[in-house]
Amino acid sequence: MARRRGDLLGVRAALSRRLLPVLVGAMSFLAALALAGALACAGLAASWRGEAASALMIQVPQPDDPDAAHDATRLAAVQRALAGDPAVRGPAVMSAAEVNRLVAPWLGGDAAALGLTLPAVINAEWAGPGTPDALAARLQTLSPGTLVKTGALWAQRVAALTASLQGCALAVLAIVALVAAAVVAVATRAGLAQLRETIETVHGLGALDADIAGRFAARATWLALVGSVGGMALALPVLAWLVWLASPFTGPARPGAFVHLPPALLALAPLLPGGAAFIGWGTAQLTVRGWLRRLP
């Protein structure tokens, strides 16, 4: 007649399997969104920084006037110089309509109607080392007044923006972890209050603090794990939908990829239930051991 008693203290009944997993599940859902946000910011930052830094814009004033050597128009001279420079890729002159659209906020829809001659604008990609200062000097000689601008400043701004967004996402993740710990602590304290007499009795019978804390921690770990897995399961379709919404910014999805979620997110997602379980274990241990200090 061997009897085995797993739950000596009655912790299973005291730490409800309803409230704690639901709250931890909600925290895990938010944590998954925050983690996805942090990863998306990191990815976009890397991509946008590269694109913005290499962008090259050349403005040629009075494009139809003759160049310095009177061989061709200023625009044609600049175009020829750009085409002959191996560090410049894909130079393309913007149409008058596109230029008009750019300056519309300041000059209205049709600058020509105001009698203004707009500069020609050429977009290109800078593939050379360092900054295009030598190119700017050469174009200045061919066509005085020509401006060469790179996207370095914009790249810095994009980097600052994405870094702050990433910081916000990580802060949300930290707050969610703290709230999850608070939820576990409150549930554990409620369980301690419910089992106060039982705990005082087993303490008096010689139970170690580690024994009592371990029983609460095991229960809190299990409930946090269950809740977190549930929260993650709910978060995955939402994340897939958000990734689909963001696809114009992130580029086309890889064919055959699992619901098109970024590989980094899929790799980190299983860590969330593990983290929730650890928070449950650690918080319950600290809460119970702290509470037991009041007993002699």
Partner: protein
């Protein structure tokens, strides 16, 4: 050995009308394997003195030695280990409501990580001793006051403690059960367990003439 040397106990939150000092300068010594009745009127400090012995309170002043160990120097782990060598019968039984009689009695042995085979043998034997072998599956709320008290006694002695502390252990027992309990306690005592029993039952004390510690208003007024 149990030794008290000028021990004072003060409750921080004494109820109105109650003395804040439950014990005042109590000194005594009980040799290993000794037996003491602890007597005195209600409120004399009997339960407070027992709490100090089973390490449920810290003294405000004085020195306490339990089973050869100074209580004030114990770490929490050492205190827990010492408690495992002390059997306690609480005045209010303190049975765990979610456990049946068998598991309540087995609790100290499980906390001490004894093997299930030994637990089964010892618990079954002690339940037979207290006359409740047939009630081992009953939960505390299904037991009478006297049965609960016998389960509490069985739990206190099942681990063959070096020191047995009992607070009014015969309060809910009839004379026959009380006498049966005394046979068990004196048998344990004769095997070397030090015993301290607080009681109001003068007839029982007279039938078993062991030395007495007498308390009045927190002071020791009789030792011997």
């Amino acid at each position: 050995m149990v030794r008290f040397d000028d021990v004072w106990l003060r409750y921080r939150h004494a109820a109105p009308g109650e003395a804040a000092e439950a014990l005042r300068g109590v000194s005594f010594e009980i040799e290993d394997g000794g037996f003491r009745w602890l007597t005195g009127p209600s409120g004399a400090g009997k339960t407070s003195l027992l709490k100090l012995i089973y390490l449920a309170e810290h003294p405000a002043r004085g020195r306490i030695e339990i089973l050869g160990t100074r209580a004030a120097r114990l770490t929490r782990r050492e205190a827990a280990m010492l408690r495992r060598r002390i059997g306690v019968v609480y005045q209010d039984f303190r049975l765990l409501p979610q456990l049946d009689a068998y598991d309540n009695v087995a609790l100290p042995m499980r906390l001490a990580r004894r093997g299930e085979a030994q637990i089964e043998a010892d618990v079954t034997e002690i339940l037979r001793w207290v006359g409740l072998a047939h009630r081992m599956d009953a939960h505390p709320d299904e037991l009478s006051g006297g049965e609960q008290q016998r389960i509490a006694i069985a739990r206190a002695v099942v681990g063959r403690p070096r020191l047995l502390v009992a607070d009014e252990p015969t309060g809910n027992l009839d004379d026959e059960q009380a006498e049966r309990l005394m046979v068990l306690i004196t048998a344990l005592n004769s095997l070397g367990t030090t015993v301290i029993v607080a009681t109001h039952n003068n007839a029982l004390v007279e039938r078993h003439p062991f030395p007495r510690l007498g308390l009045e208003r927190g002071r020791l007024v009789r030792d011997g």
